[in-house]
């Protein structure tokens, strides 16, 4: 054959030894095998994913269009549950509480975590002990955390008022209407700051060292290095943390349930708490509960999408 052809023009078709339809059949078979293989690997997890996550999400949509509860009978009511949402007394309080909660806890968590991370990343020895201690509250189940804090916020013999008294102040009603939400937010900070601190430590350790050496040679102060190097380099990661921490903040529930039961009044009634009230109240207004859930789910989806879009921008950027 054309071993000595020096110039290879586009070869004419039709020299294949197998008929095109035979090639097509064999390719199709191979393709099919690959499809089966892929789905076989994916299927066990994907089935669980569909049954226990996708279908429940669709179920929420279904329930949100109905009235009634689990124990009784339900009927289709269209969009009524959504239309009624703004009229619900206390709905705005739940939304406000949730936002205020996130507004207090998220910045404290992230600023605190970043500060801890900056120190922790620099430390020369003993880092693992600090990491363990700082991470420990993250491992505490919400129920247990709330129990501990219930104990600490006790007006008469709790740790907090012990400190206040020791400083010569008057005992504070920590779980009263004025402070309960703040206490809940601080509890959240206590539980989450360690998580994000270690998250940031990992990010800081991953930053290119040469840049810092260069900056030091340029005579940049520690603050300048933070301001012009660390923070800009970690912009995406911080942004990621802000979004995720916010999404978590919007879901605050189990501590509110155990620590304050949503009270006093509506002071710590958050959105999910409100869902809970409707879902688990005696009349099982699952339709309303699902409508609220759905609004929350959509909010979270939007936040997720915004984040995906911006994180994708990173790849395009560099």
């Amino acid at each position: 054959m054309g071993l000595d052809a020096r110039v290879m023009p586009a070869a004419p078709s039709g020299r294949l030894r197998l008929a095109p339809e035979e090639h097509r059949r064999l390719s199709r078979n191979r393709r099919l095998k690959r499809e089966v293989l892929g789905w076989a690997f994916l299927a066990p997890m994907f089935l669980c994913f569909v049954i226990f996550l996708v279908l429940p999400v669709l179920g929420t949509v279904w329930w949100s269009l109905r009235s009634g509860g689990l124990a009784g009978d339900t009927k289709f009511v269209g969009l009524k549950n959504f239309i009624d949402l703004p009229d619900i007394v206390g709905a705005s309080a739940a939304v406000t509480n949730t936002l205020v909660f996130a507004l207090i806890s998220v910045p404290l968590i992230l600023v605190g975590a970043l500060a801890i991370a900056l120190l922790l990343a620099r430390i020369e020895r003993g880092g693992s002990i600090y990491r363990f201690l700082i991470y420990f509250p993250v491992l505490v189940p919400g129920v247990v955390a709330a129990l501990i804090w219930l104990f600490m916020t006790n007006v008469d013999f709790g740790l907090f008022n012990g400190v206040v008294r020791g400083l010569g102040g008057k005992p504070v009603v920590w779980l009263g209407a004025d402070h309960a939400l703040t206490v809940l937010a601080i509890l959240d900070v206590w539980r989450n700051v360690g998580y994000w601190a270690l998250f940031f430590v990992a990010a800081i350790i991953g930053l290119p060292k040469e840049l810092y050496q260069a900056a030091e040679l340029d005579g940049a102060s520690a603050f300048a290095r933070l301001r012009y190097l660390t923070l800009p380099l970690m912009r995406r990661i911080i942004f990621f943390a802000v979004v995720v921490a916010t999404i978590w903040g919007l879901q605050v529930f189990d501590t509110a349930l155990v620590l304050t039961s949503g009270g006093p009044g509506t002071a710590t009634t958050t959105v999910i708490y409100r869902v809970w009230l409707y879902m688990f109240g005696a009349t099982n207004k699952i339709g309303v509960a699902s409508a609220i859930s759905l609004v929350l789910i959509v909010t979270i989806l939007l936040l997720t999408l915004v984040q995906m879009r911006l994180l994708r921008g990173r790849r395009g950027g560099d």
Binding site: G69, L70, A71, G72, D73, D84, D87, I88, V89, G90, L150, N154, V155, D156, V173, W174, L175, G176, A177, D178, H179, A180, L257, T260, S261, G262, G263, P264, G265, T266, A267, T269, L277, Y278, M279, F280, G281, A282, T283, N284, K285
Partner: protein, 446 residues
């Protein structure tokens, strides 16, 4: 011999006649009947059950019950032991739900067939009435053979008012909010038990009992997001969530606003501790320690207090409102899961659990009032604090039940939170009352 056994024997002989039962089976059946009757007579001589099951029962019974006291499961096990004397082949399992999630836990369990017998409260009764998950016990309860027993239960008129079906046997009733009063401090303040007869006397007394940094006159709102406190003030002012025909809201009345202002004033004057100071767990201890001169709590509080208190105390109702003096109470039932395979067994069990002796025993140990008129003869009052029995006539006199609409409990939960907002100064009494009316309209769907 009891009618029930007669019926069992006649059923047996009929079955034999119709050749459904072999001769041997008939004899065995009679033998078992005889044995169990003998067992009733001899072994369980201590108490005399109103009736005893004749058929030899076998099976496993799963209870889902409310945690009335620390010893809840122990009390049930005690009753189960007595039951096993009669029917050794029946085994039991008791699981507690939590009050906060009671409706959901019950709803989930009954739909999934998780348990056989449920302890339910009146507030969710209308809801269950509308569904089909619980066994319809109407035929059994209204069976003429059960008539004499039925007559011994209290509150059938309330139960029957929710609808045609009867779903449960009542166990107990209890007062949602009573005043636990430190009488020593009342005396110190220059009052006696009659301070409760008027609102002014009440306020004067608790004001005088209040000592800054040491004692608050009245601890209310201890149940964060809880219920009952304001509801009885609403009723005492002539209001209710709905008018008796359930067609219109009946909340936003001048008198209702007035009693709400009165309540809010207690906080403004600092004679009631700010909400959040004492939780439901901590309040009884604070009362026992003298930090609260009066504690407003449900009767379950009596089981938490130490048996020996360092001062003299009483249970009293709230003072009268513009219209009447009321205390709000509700009833607790046993219901049977419609999915349970052996309905006869379940019926035997719940009727045994609510017979005079066992009802008396359970209520006495749970700090509630029994739903049986024969409870006192069966030893009620020997375990509970004496204050409970002492206050019974008073509470009976002023008792009002909840209203007959399925959304009652949801309305109550949301309304009480709005009222607490006004106690903490986040809204005015007028706004709070108006909000409650809005809640009623929305939740009931008027």
């Amino acid at each position: 011999m009891n009618q029930r056994i007669h019926r069992q024997i006649s059923a047996l002989s009929e079955a034999h006649h119709e050749a459904r039962l072999s001769r041997r089976g008939f004899v065995m059946g009679l033998l078992q009947l005889g044995l169990s009757t003998a067992a009733v007579a001899s072994i369980a001589a201590g108490f005399r059950p109103a009736y005893a099951a004749a058929k030899s029962l076998k099976g496993h019974v799963r209870f889902l019950v409310g945690p009335w006291s620390e010893g809840e499961v122990a009390h049930h096990k005690h009753i189960a032991e007595a039951f096993n004397v009669l029917h050794p082949d029946v085994t039991f399992d008791f699981r507690l739900y939590q009050w906060g999630t009671a409706a959901q836990e019950i709803g989930a369990s009954v739909a999934g067939g998780g348990h056989d017998i449920y302890m339910t409260t009146e507030s969710s009764y209308p809801d269950y009435q509308a569904g089909t998950r619980f066994a319809d016990l109407t035929a059994r309860i209204n069976d003429p053979a059960f008539a004499a027993e039925k007559a011994k239960y209290l509150y059938w008129e309330r139960t029957e008012s929710y609808g045609p079906k009867l779903l449960g046997l009542p166990i107990s009733w209890h007062v949602e909010d009573a005043l636990f009063v430190n009488m020593d401090k009342v005396k110190e303040a220059g009052h006696d038990a009659s301070f409760i007869d008027s609102w002014d006397g009440f306020v004067d007394c608790i004001a005088k009992m209040t000592k800054e940094g040491e004692t608050y006159g009245l601890g209310i709102g201890i149940q964060l997001g809880g219920y009952g406190e304001w509801y009885q003030r609403l009723r005492s002012a002539g209001g209710s969530y709905l008018t008796p025909d359930l067609k219109k809201p009946n909340v936003n009345l001048p008198d209702v606003v007035k009693v709400t202002e009165q309540m809010a004033d207690l906080f403004k004057r600092g004679i009631a501790p700010p909400l959040g100071t004492y939780g439901y767990d901590a309040a009884p201890a604070a009362f026992a320690a003298g930090k609260l001169a009066i504690l407003s709590s449900d009767l379950a509080g009596t089981t938490v207090l130490p048996k020996k208190m360092p001062f003299d105390w009483k249970l009293l109702p709230y003072p009268p409102g513009p219209v009447s003096q009321v205390n709000f109470n509700d009833v607790t039932y046993y219901m049977v899961n419609a999915k349970s395979p052996d309905q006869d067994l379940m019926w035997e069990v719940i009727s045994f659990w609510t017979n005079g002796a066992n009802d008396a025993y359970w209520a006495d140990n749970s700090g509630t009032y029994p739903a049986r008129i024969d409870a006192p003869q069966n030893g009620y009052g020997t375990n509970a604090v004496p204050q409970l029995a002492e206050a019974l006539p008073l509470f009976e006199k002023h008792a009002v039940g909840l209203e007959n609409f399925p959304q009652w409990a949801t309305v109550e939960g949301l309304a009480e939170a709005e009222i607490q907002n006004c106690y903490t100064g986040k809204s005015t009494p007028a706004e709070a009352v108006a909000n409650v009316e809005k809640i009623v309209i929305h939740e009931v769907g008027l």
